[in-house]
Symmetry: C2
Subunit: 260 residues, 2 copies
Protein backbone atom coordinates (compact mmCIF):
# COMPACT_ATOMS: atom_id res chain seq x y z
CA UNK A 1 0.00 0.00 0.00
CA UNK A 2 1.33 3.43 -0.92
CA UNK A 3 0.76 6.23 1.59
CA UNK A 4 1.43 9.83 0.58
CA UNK A 5 1.11 13.43 1.59
CA UNK A 6 1.23 16.80 -0.09
CA UNK A 7 2.77 19.76 1.78
CA UNK A 8 1.02 22.85 0.44
CA UNK A 9 1.26 26.64 0.71
CA UNK A 10 -2.31 27.91 0.39
CA UNK A 11 -3.28 31.49 -0.42
CA UNK A 12 -5.69 32.63 2.29
CA UNK A 13 -9.32 32.45 1.19
CA UNK A 14 -8.57 31.28 -2.37
CA UNK A 15 -10.34 27.94 -2.02
CA UNK A 16 -10.54 26.99 -5.72
CA UNK A 17 -6.94 27.97 -6.37
CA UNK A 18 -5.72 26.00 -3.34
CA UNK A 19 -7.62 22.88 -4.35
CA UNK A 20 -6.23 23.23 -7.88
CA UNK A 21 -2.65 23.44 -6.53
CA UNK A 22 -3.13 20.03 -4.93
CA UNK A 23 -4.98 18.45 -7.87
CA UNK A 24 -2.27 19.47 -10.32
CA UNK A 25 0.54 18.40 -7.99
CA UNK A 26 -0.77 14.86 -7.50
CA UNK A 27 -2.19 14.35 -11.00
CA UNK A 28 0.58 12.04 -12.16
CA UNK A 29 1.36 10.55 -8.78
CA UNK A 30 0.39 7.12 -7.58
CA UNK A 31 -0.96 6.47 -4.07
CA UNK A 32 -3.56 4.57 -2.07
CA UNK A 33 -3.90 7.10 0.74
CA UNK A 34 -3.18 10.82 0.43
CA UNK A 35 -3.09 13.08 3.48
CA UNK A 36 -3.47 16.86 3.01
CA UNK A 37 -2.84 19.57 5.63
CA UNK A 38 -5.24 21.03 8.17
CA UNK A 39 -7.53 23.71 6.61
CA UNK A 40 -5.67 23.07 3.35
CA UNK A 41 -8.09 24.98 1.08
CA UNK A 42 -9.01 28.01 3.17
CA UNK A 43 -5.83 29.01 4.96
CA UNK A 44 -5.51 29.22 8.73
CA UNK A 45 -5.55 32.70 10.24
CA UNK A 46 -9.17 33.93 10.36
CA UNK A 47 -9.72 37.50 11.54
CA UNK A 48 -12.78 36.43 13.47
CA UNK A 49 -15.54 33.84 13.66
CA UNK A 50 -17.67 35.58 11.04
CA UNK A 51 -14.88 35.49 8.48
CA UNK A 52 -14.35 31.81 9.22
CA UNK A 53 -18.08 31.15 8.90
CA UNK A 54 -18.05 32.71 5.42
CA UNK A 55 -15.46 30.15 4.30
CA UNK A 56 -16.99 27.12 6.03
CA UNK A 57 -18.90 24.16 4.59
CA UNK A 58 -21.25 21.62 6.03
CA UNK A 59 -19.59 18.20 6.30
CA UNK A 60 -20.18 16.28 3.08
CA UNK A 61 -21.07 19.27 0.92
CA UNK A 62 -19.43 22.30 -0.68
CA UNK A 63 -16.85 22.72 -3.38
CA UNK A 64 -13.93 21.33 -1.37
CA UNK A 65 -15.75 18.10 -0.56
CA UNK A 66 -16.97 17.71 -4.16
CA UNK A 67 -13.57 18.26 -5.74
CA UNK A 68 -11.81 15.94 -3.30
CA UNK A 69 -14.50 13.32 -3.89
CA UNK A 70 -13.85 13.54 -7.63
CA UNK A 71 -10.10 13.32 -7.05
CA UNK A 72 -10.49 10.28 -4.77
CA UNK A 73 -12.53 8.53 -7.47
CA UNK A 74 -10.09 9.47 -10.24
CA UNK A 75 -7.07 8.30 -8.26
CA UNK A 76 -8.83 5.30 -6.70
CA UNK A 77 -7.49 6.50 -3.34
CA UNK A 78 -8.54 7.55 0.12
CA UNK A 79 -7.96 11.27 0.61
CA UNK A 80 -7.88 12.88 4.05
CA UNK A 81 -7.97 16.67 4.29
CA UNK A 82 -8.56 19.40 6.83
CA UNK A 83 -11.47 21.80 6.37
CA UNK A 84 -13.57 24.41 8.10
CA UNK A 85 -16.84 22.77 9.13
CA UNK A 86 -20.06 24.55 10.00
CA UNK A 87 -22.81 22.66 11.79
CA UNK A 88 -25.74 24.74 12.93
CA UNK A 89 -24.22 27.57 14.94
CA UNK A 90 -21.02 25.65 15.54
CA UNK A 91 -17.71 25.81 13.71
CA UNK A 92 -15.22 22.96 13.84
CA UNK A 93 -11.63 22.51 12.71
CA UNK A 94 -12.26 19.18 11.02
CA UNK A 95 -10.74 16.47 8.87
CA UNK A 96 -12.63 14.43 6.31
CA UNK A 97 -11.60 11.09 4.86
CA UNK A 98 -13.16 10.40 1.45
CA UNK A 99 -12.83 7.07 -0.31
CA UNK A 100 -13.27 6.31 -4.04
CA UNK A 101 -16.81 5.01 -3.51
CA UNK A 102 -17.87 8.26 -1.87
CA UNK A 103 -17.87 6.98 1.71
CA UNK A 104 -16.63 9.58 4.14
CA UNK A 105 -15.52 9.80 7.78
CA UNK A 106 -15.52 13.01 9.78
CA UNK A 107 -13.14 13.91 12.63
CA UNK A 108 -13.36 17.20 14.57
CA UNK A 109 -10.17 18.52 16.21
CA UNK A 110 -10.22 17.63 19.89
CA UNK A 111 -7.51 19.95 21.25
CA UNK A 112 -7.75 23.52 19.91
CA UNK A 113 -4.57 25.60 19.77
CA UNK A 114 -4.23 29.14 21.10
CA UNK A 115 -6.57 31.63 19.35
CA UNK A 116 -8.40 28.81 17.55
CA UNK A 117 -10.47 28.85 20.72
CA UNK A 118 -11.94 32.20 19.58
CA UNK A 119 -13.03 30.70 16.26
CA UNK A 120 -13.86 27.03 16.70
CA UNK A 121 -15.89 24.82 18.95
CA UNK A 122 -14.00 21.92 20.56
CA UNK A 123 -14.48 18.75 18.51
CA UNK A 124 -17.31 16.43 19.43
CA UNK A 125 -16.47 13.31 17.42
CA UNK A 126 -13.60 12.07 19.59
CA UNK A 127 -11.10 9.57 18.23
CA UNK A 128 -12.15 6.59 16.12
CA UNK A 129 -10.72 4.10 13.63
CA UNK A 130 -12.08 3.05 10.25
CA UNK A 131 -11.09 0.55 7.58
CA UNK A 132 -9.81 1.37 4.14
CA UNK A 133 -8.76 -1.54 1.96
CA UNK A 134 -6.52 -3.65 4.21
CA UNK A 135 -5.62 -0.76 6.52
CA UNK A 136 -7.02 0.56 9.80
CA UNK A 137 -6.91 4.35 9.83
CA UNK A 138 -7.14 6.93 12.61
CA UNK A 139 -7.13 10.71 12.36
CA UNK A 140 -5.91 13.50 14.60
CA UNK A 141 -5.28 17.15 13.76
CA UNK A 142 -2.18 19.25 14.47
CA UNK A 143 -2.07 20.21 18.20
CA UNK A 144 -3.67 16.88 19.14
CA UNK A 145 -0.03 15.65 18.89
CA UNK A 146 0.86 17.40 22.14
CA UNK A 147 -1.49 15.10 24.07
CA UNK A 148 -0.09 11.56 24.18
CA UNK A 149 -3.66 10.39 24.84
CA UNK A 150 -4.67 11.20 21.23
CA UNK A 151 -2.35 8.82 19.42
CA UNK A 152 -2.59 6.31 22.28
CA UNK A 153 -6.37 6.16 22.03
CA UNK A 154 -6.19 5.66 18.25
CA UNK A 155 -3.56 2.92 18.61
CA UNK A 156 -5.54 1.13 21.32
CA UNK A 157 -8.56 1.23 19.00
CA UNK A 158 -6.44 -0.62 16.45
CA UNK A 159 -5.15 2.16 14.18
CA UNK A 160 -2.23 1.06 12.04
CA UNK A 161 -1.79 4.44 10.34
CA UNK A 162 -2.37 7.74 12.15
CA UNK A 163 -3.14 10.45 9.59
CA UNK A 164 -2.30 13.87 10.97
CA UNK A 165 -3.32 16.95 8.93
CA UNK A 166 -1.44 19.90 10.43
CA UNK A 167 -0.65 23.61 10.24
CA UNK A 168 2.30 23.52 12.61
CA UNK A 169 3.78 26.60 14.20
CA UNK A 170 5.62 24.85 17.08
CA UNK A 171 8.97 23.50 15.94
CA UNK A 172 8.86 20.64 18.43
CA UNK A 173 6.18 18.54 16.73
CA UNK A 174 8.10 16.81 13.92
CA UNK A 175 10.50 15.09 16.34
CA UNK A 176 7.74 14.42 18.87
CA UNK A 177 5.94 12.46 16.15
CA UNK A 178 8.84 9.98 16.20
CA UNK A 179 7.96 9.34 19.85
CA UNK A 180 4.25 9.06 18.99
CA UNK A 181 5.08 6.40 16.37
CA UNK A 182 7.46 4.53 18.70
CA UNK A 183 5.34 4.54 21.83
CA UNK A 184 2.40 3.12 19.85
CA UNK A 185 4.28 1.21 17.13
CA UNK A 186 2.12 2.70 14.37
CA UNK A 187 2.75 4.53 11.11
CA UNK A 188 2.23 8.29 11.32
CA UNK A 189 1.65 10.67 8.41
CA UNK A 190 1.97 14.35 9.39
CA UNK A 191 0.92 16.50 6.44
CA UNK A 192 1.92 20.09 7.19
CA UNK A 193 1.96 23.34 5.22
CA UNK A 194 4.62 25.98 4.61
CA UNK A 195 4.47 29.75 4.14
CA UNK A 196 3.50 32.75 6.21
CA UNK A 197 0.18 34.31 7.19
CA UNK A 198 -0.04 37.76 8.71
CA UNK A 199 -3.68 38.76 8.89
CA UNK A 200 -4.12 39.62 12.58
CA UNK A 201 -0.98 41.59 13.38
CA UNK A 202 0.72 38.40 14.53
CA UNK A 203 2.68 36.75 11.74
CA UNK A 204 2.53 32.97 11.69
CA UNK A 205 5.27 30.99 9.99
CA UNK A 206 4.32 27.40 9.30
CA UNK A 207 7.07 24.89 9.95
CA UNK A 208 6.67 22.37 7.12
CA UNK A 209 8.77 19.25 7.82
CA UNK A 210 5.96 16.90 6.89
CA UNK A 211 6.92 13.33 7.74
CA UNK A 212 5.93 9.72 7.26
CA UNK A 213 7.27 7.63 10.17
CA UNK A 214 7.40 3.86 10.71
CA UNK A 215 6.26 1.91 13.80
CA UNK A 216 9.97 1.69 14.75
CA UNK A 217 10.27 5.48 14.72
CA UNK A 218 12.17 5.59 11.42
CA UNK A 219 11.54 8.57 9.13
CA UNK A 220 10.45 6.93 5.87
CA UNK A 221 10.01 10.20 3.92
CA UNK A 222 10.11 13.88 4.81
CA UNK A 223 10.04 17.39 3.39
CA UNK A 224 11.86 20.59 4.36
CA UNK A 225 10.57 23.76 5.97
CA UNK A 226 10.17 25.92 2.87
CA UNK A 227 9.15 23.97 -0.20
CA UNK A 228 5.78 22.51 -1.11
CA UNK A 229 5.95 18.92 -2.26
CA UNK A 230 4.60 15.40 -2.58
CA UNK A 231 6.14 12.38 -0.84
CA UNK A 232 5.01 8.77 -0.77
CA UNK A 233 6.22 5.48 0.58
CA UNK A 234 5.23 1.84 0.18
CA UNK A 235 4.22 0.23 3.48
CA UNK A 236 2.57 -2.87 4.82
CA UNK A 237 -0.05 -1.61 7.32
CA UNK A 238 -0.02 -4.91 9.23
CA UNK A 239 3.58 -4.18 10.27
CA UNK A 240 1.88 -1.97 12.87
CA UNK A 241 0.14 -5.03 14.34
CA UNK A 242 3.48 -6.38 15.55
CA UNK A 243 3.74 -4.87 19.02
CA UNK A 244 6.80 -6.90 20.07
CA UNK A 245 9.23 -4.32 21.46
CA UNK A 246 11.45 -7.29 22.38
CA UNK A 247 10.76 -11.05 22.30
CA UNK A 248 9.55 -10.61 25.90
CA UNK A 249 7.66 -7.31 25.59
CA UNK A 250 4.28 -6.80 23.95
CA UNK A 251 3.77 -3.04 23.89
CA UNK A 252 0.10 -3.14 24.83
CA UNK A 253 -0.16 -6.34 26.89
CA UNK A 254 2.60 -4.92 29.12
CA UNK A 255 0.62 -1.78 29.96
CA UNK A 256 -0.19 -1.74 33.69
CA UNK A 257 -3.41 0.18 33.72
CA UNK A 258 -3.90 -0.39 37.44
CA UNK A 259 -1.21 2.28 37.95
CA UNK A 260 -2.37 4.95 35.45
CA UNK B 1 18.00 24.43 43.29
CA UNK B 2 20.80 22.45 41.66
CA UNK B 3 19.88 19.12 40.08
CA UNK B 4 22.59 16.72 38.99
CA UNK B 5 23.34 13.26 37.72
CA UNK B 6 26.35 11.00 37.48
CA UNK B 7 26.72 8.70 34.46
CA UNK B 8 28.70 5.69 35.66
CA UNK B 9 30.31 2.56 34.25
CA UNK B 10 30.00 -0.08 36.96
CA UNK B 11 32.02 -3.28 37.13
CA UNK B 12 29.54 -6.14 37.44
CA UNK B 13 29.12 -7.36 41.01
CA UNK B 14 31.74 -5.01 42.50
CA UNK B 15 29.33 -3.15 44.73
CA UNK B 16 31.82 -1.39 46.99
CA UNK B 17 34.01 -0.33 44.09
CA UNK B 18 31.02 1.00 42.16
CA UNK B 19 29.75 3.01 45.11
CA UNK B 20 33.27 4.40 45.62
CA UNK B 21 33.44 5.50 41.95
CA UNK B 22 30.38 7.67 42.53
CA UNK B 23 31.43 8.97 45.95
CA UNK B 24 34.81 10.08 44.65
CA UNK B 25 33.33 11.63 41.50
CA UNK B 26 30.82 13.83 43.35
CA UNK B 27 33.01 14.59 46.40
CA UNK B 28 33.80 18.16 45.37
CA UNK B 29 30.59 18.81 43.46
CA UNK B 30 27.68 20.87 44.67
CA UNK B 31 24.05 19.76 44.21
CA UNK B 32 20.66 19.56 45.91
CA UNK B 33 19.43 16.47 44.07
CA UNK B 34 21.67 13.78 42.55
CA UNK B 35 20.24 11.05 40.32
CA UNK B 36 22.28 7.87 39.78
CA UNK B 37 21.61 5.14 37.18
CA UNK B 38 19.43 2.05 37.47
CA UNK B 39 21.20 -0.78 39.38
CA UNK B 40 24.19 1.54 39.63
CA UNK B 41 26.12 -0.50 42.19
CA UNK B 42 25.54 -4.09 41.04
CA UNK B 43 25.59 -3.94 37.26
CA UNK B 44 22.71 -5.06 35.07
CA UNK B 45 23.09 -8.43 33.37
CA UNK B 46 22.39 -11.17 35.90
CA UNK B 47 22.91 -14.75 34.74
CA UNK B 48 19.83 -15.86 36.63
CA UNK B 49 17.53 -15.04 39.51
CA UNK B 50 19.80 -16.74 42.07
CA UNK B 51 22.76 -14.61 41.07
CA UNK B 52 20.60 -11.49 41.32
CA UNK B 53 19.35 -12.59 44.74
CA UNK B 54 22.92 -12.89 45.99
CA UNK B 55 23.49 -9.20 45.16
CA UNK B 56 20.14 -7.90 46.41
CA UNK B 57 19.31 -5.89 49.54
CA UNK B 58 16.17 -5.30 51.51
CA UNK B 59 14.89 -1.76 50.98
CA UNK B 60 16.43 0.52 53.60
CA UNK B 61 19.30 -1.77 54.52
CA UNK B 62 22.56 -3.09 53.14
CA UNK B 63 25.83 -1.44 52.23
CA UNK B 64 24.48 0.52 49.25
CA UNK B 65 21.73 2.13 51.27
CA UNK B 66 24.07 2.90 54.16
CA UNK B 67 26.75 4.49 52.00
CA UNK B 68 24.25 6.55 50.03
CA UNK B 69 22.61 7.66 53.26
CA UNK B 70 25.99 8.85 54.50
CA UNK B 71 26.66 10.62 51.22
CA UNK B 72 23.24 12.32 51.28
CA UNK B 73 23.96 13.60 54.80
CA UNK B 74 27.48 14.75 53.89
CA UNK B 75 26.31 16.58 50.78
CA UNK B 76 23.04 17.82 52.30
CA UNK B 77 21.30 16.48 49.19
CA UNK B 78 18.60 14.10 48.04
CA UNK B 79 20.15 11.12 46.26
CA UNK B 80 18.11 8.83 44.02
CA UNK B 81 19.67 5.55 42.89
CA UNK B 82 18.65 2.28 41.32
CA UNK B 83 19.20 -0.97 43.26
CA UNK B 84 18.32 -4.63 43.37
CA UNK B 85 15.62 -5.10 46.01
CA UNK B 86 14.67 -8.34 47.71
CA UNK B 87 11.44 -8.56 49.62
CA UNK B 88 10.50 -12.00 50.87
CA UNK B 89 10.67 -14.24 47.81
CA UNK B 90 10.35 -11.32 45.43
CA UNK B 91 13.02 -9.37 43.58
CA UNK B 92 12.40 -5.86 42.29
CA UNK B 93 14.31 -3.47 40.04
CA UNK B 94 13.91 -0.49 42.36
CA UNK B 95 14.90 3.11 42.94
CA UNK B 96 15.41 4.67 46.35
CA UNK B 97 15.38 8.34 47.19
CA UNK B 98 17.32 9.16 50.35
CA UNK B 99 17.31 12.63 51.91
CA UNK B 100 19.87 14.11 54.35
CA UNK B 101 17.64 13.40 57.35
CA UNK B 102 17.48 9.72 56.48
CA UNK B 103 13.95 9.75 55.07
CA UNK B 104 13.59 7.46 52.10
CA UNK B 105 11.08 6.75 49.33
CA UNK B 106 10.95 3.49 47.39
CA UNK B 107 9.83 3.02 43.78
CA UNK B 108 9.72 -0.39 42.05
CA UNK B 109 10.05 -0.46 38.25
CA UNK B 110 6.60 -0.81 36.72
CA UNK B 111 7.48 -1.88 33.15
CA UNK B 112 10.15 -4.57 33.00
CA UNK B 113 12.30 -4.78 29.85
CA UNK B 114 12.98 -7.96 27.91
CA UNK B 115 14.79 -10.63 29.97
CA UNK B 116 14.36 -8.61 33.18
CA UNK B 117 11.10 -10.53 33.29
CA UNK B 118 13.12 -13.69 34.10
CA UNK B 119 14.78 -12.00 37.08
CA UNK B 120 12.43 -9.44 38.59
CA UNK B 121 8.85 -9.20 39.77
CA UNK B 122 6.83 -6.36 38.27
CA UNK B 123 6.84 -3.33 40.57
CA UNK B 124 4.07 -3.00 43.11
CA UNK B 125 4.52 0.59 44.29
CA UNK B 126 3.11 2.34 41.24
CA UNK B 127 3.89 5.98 40.59
CA UNK B 128 3.88 8.60 43.35
CA UNK B 129 5.22 12.04 44.13
CA UNK B 130 7.05 13.27 47.23
CA UNK B 131 8.38 16.60 48.44
CA UNK B 132 12.01 17.51 48.88
CA UNK B 133 12.77 21.07 49.93
CA UNK B 134 10.68 23.21 47.57
CA UNK B 135 10.43 20.55 44.84
CA UNK B 136 7.92 17.84 44.01
CA UNK B 137 9.71 14.72 42.81
CA UNK B 138 8.57 11.67 40.87
CA UNK B 139 10.54 8.59 39.91
CA UNK B 140 10.40 6.18 37.00
CA UNK B 141 13.03 3.66 35.86
CA UNK B 142 14.46 3.15 32.37
CA UNK B 143 11.88 1.34 30.13
CA UNK B 144 9.03 3.09 31.95
CA UNK B 145 9.86 5.90 29.44
CA UNK B 146 8.33 3.91 26.58
CA UNK B 147 4.90 4.17 28.21
CA UNK B 148 3.60 7.76 28.04
CA UNK B 149 1.34 6.88 30.96
CA UNK B 150 4.33 6.75 33.35
CA UNK B 151 5.47 10.37 33.03
CA UNK B 152 1.86 11.53 32.54
CA UNK B 153 0.76 9.96 35.79
CA UNK B 154 3.67 11.55 37.66
CA UNK B 155 2.97 14.96 36.13
CA UNK B 156 -0.75 14.75 36.91
CA UNK B 157 0.20 13.91 40.51
CA UNK B 158 2.12 17.19 40.57
CA UNK B 159 5.70 16.13 39.85
CA UNK B 160 7.92 19.03 38.82
CA UNK B 161 11.03 16.90 38.35
CA UNK B 162 10.90 13.35 36.98
CA UNK B 163 14.02 11.47 38.09
CA UNK B 164 14.77 8.59 35.74
CA UNK B 165 17.54 6.15 36.70
CA UNK B 166 18.31 4.13 33.57
CA UNK B 167 20.44 1.46 31.95
CA UNK B 168 19.44 2.23 28.37
CA UNK B 169 20.09 -0.12 25.49
CA UNK B 170 17.54 1.36 23.05
CA UNK B 171 18.95 4.42 21.26
CA UNK B 172 15.54 6.05 20.93
CA UNK B 173 15.04 7.02 24.58
CA UNK B 174 17.18 10.18 24.90
CA UNK B 175 15.19 12.03 22.23
CA UNK B 176 11.88 10.57 23.42
CA UNK B 177 12.60 12.15 26.81
CA UNK B 178 12.37 15.56 25.13
CA UNK B 179 8.78 14.63 24.22
CA UNK B 180 8.13 13.37 27.76
CA UNK B 181 9.29 16.74 29.16
CA UNK B 182 7.31 18.75 26.58
CA UNK B 183 4.04 16.84 26.77
CA UNK B 184 4.02 17.21 30.57
CA UNK B 185 5.97 20.48 30.93
CA UNK B 186 8.21 19.02 33.63
CA UNK B 187 11.95 18.73 34.21
CA UNK B 188 13.37 15.29 33.45
CA UNK B 189 16.66 13.85 34.69
CA UNK B 190 17.68 10.66 32.88
CA UNK B 191 20.77 9.22 34.58
CA UNK B 192 22.16 6.47 32.37
CA UNK B 193 25.31 4.35 32.38
CA UNK B 194 27.91 3.56 29.74
CA UNK B 195 30.01 0.48 29.02
CA UNK B 196 29.41 -3.08 27.94
CA UNK B 197 28.25 -6.22 29.72
CA UNK B 198 28.54 -9.64 28.15
CA UNK B 199 27.67 -12.22 30.78
CA UNK B 200 24.92 -14.23 29.04
CA UNK B 201 26.24 -14.62 25.48
CA UNK B 202 24.32 -11.52 24.46
CA UNK B 203 26.48 -8.41 24.70
CA UNK B 204 24.69 -5.30 25.93
CA UNK B 205 26.09 -1.88 25.10
CA UNK B 206 24.64 0.88 27.25
CA UNK B 207 23.88 4.07 25.39
CA UNK B 208 24.85 6.82 27.85
CA UNK B 209 23.52 10.20 26.68
CA UNK B 210 22.25 11.11 30.13
CA UNK B 211 20.21 14.29 29.94
CA UNK B 212 18.58 16.99 32.03
CA UNK B 213 15.66 18.52 30.09
CA UNK B 214 13.50 21.58 30.79
CA UNK B 215 9.67 21.78 30.75
CA UNK B 216 10.04 23.42 27.32
CA UNK B 217 11.93 20.40 25.97
CA UNK B 218 15.31 22.14 26.02
CA UNK B 219 18.38 20.02 26.83
CA UNK B 220 19.91 21.83 29.82
CA UNK B 221 22.87 19.46 30.20
CA UNK B 222 23.92 16.18 28.62
CA UNK B 223 26.69 13.63 28.36
CA UNK B 224 28.01 11.52 25.49
CA UNK B 225 27.74 7.81 24.83
CA UNK B 226 31.15 6.70 26.07
CA UNK B 227 32.43 8.72 28.99
CA UNK B 228 31.37 8.64 32.61
CA UNK B 229 30.68 12.07 34.07
CA UNK B 230 28.86 14.46 36.36
CA UNK B 231 26.52 17.20 35.11
CA UNK B 232 24.40 19.68 37.02
CA UNK B 233 22.13 22.60 36.31
CA UNK B 234 20.45 25.28 38.37
CA UNK B 235 16.66 25.20 38.03
CA UNK B 236 13.57 26.63 39.60
CA UNK B 237 11.24 23.64 40.15
CA UNK B 238 8.15 25.87 40.14
CA UNK B 239 8.84 26.63 36.45
CA UNK B 240 7.17 23.25 35.93
CA UNK B 241 3.96 24.56 37.50
CA UNK B 242 3.45 26.91 34.56
CA UNK B 243 1.40 24.77 32.19
CA UNK B 244 0.62 27.58 29.73
CA UNK B 245 1.49 26.18 26.31
CA UNK B 246 0.10 29.43 24.90
CA UNK B 247 -1.82 32.27 26.59
CA UNK B 248 -4.96 30.31 25.67
CA UNK B 249 -3.80 26.77 26.43
CA UNK B 250 -3.35 25.21 29.85
CA UNK B 251 -1.73 21.86 29.20
CA UNK B 252 -3.74 19.93 31.78
CA UNK B 253 -7.01 21.89 31.89
CA UNK B 254 -7.27 21.36 28.12
CA UNK B 255 -7.14 17.57 28.42
CA UNK B 256 -10.42 16.09 27.23
CA UNK B 257 -10.63 12.97 29.31
CA UNK B 258 -14.11 12.15 28.01
CA UNK B 259 -12.37 11.04 24.81
CA UNK B 260 -9.47 8.99 26.21
Amino acid sequence: MKIALYQNSPVFGEIEQNIKEVSVAVKNEDFDILVLPELFATGYQFKNRDEALSLADKAGSGITFERIQQLAAQKDALIIYGFLEKKGKKLFNSAMAVDPSGNSFLYQKTHLFDTEKNIFNPGETGFFVFDYKEAKIGMMICFDWRYPESARKLALLGAQIICHPSNLVLSTCPDAMITRALENMVFTVTSDRVGLENRCGQPLKFTGKSRIISPQGKILAELGDIETGFIATEINPTDADNKAVTPNNHLFDDRRTEFY
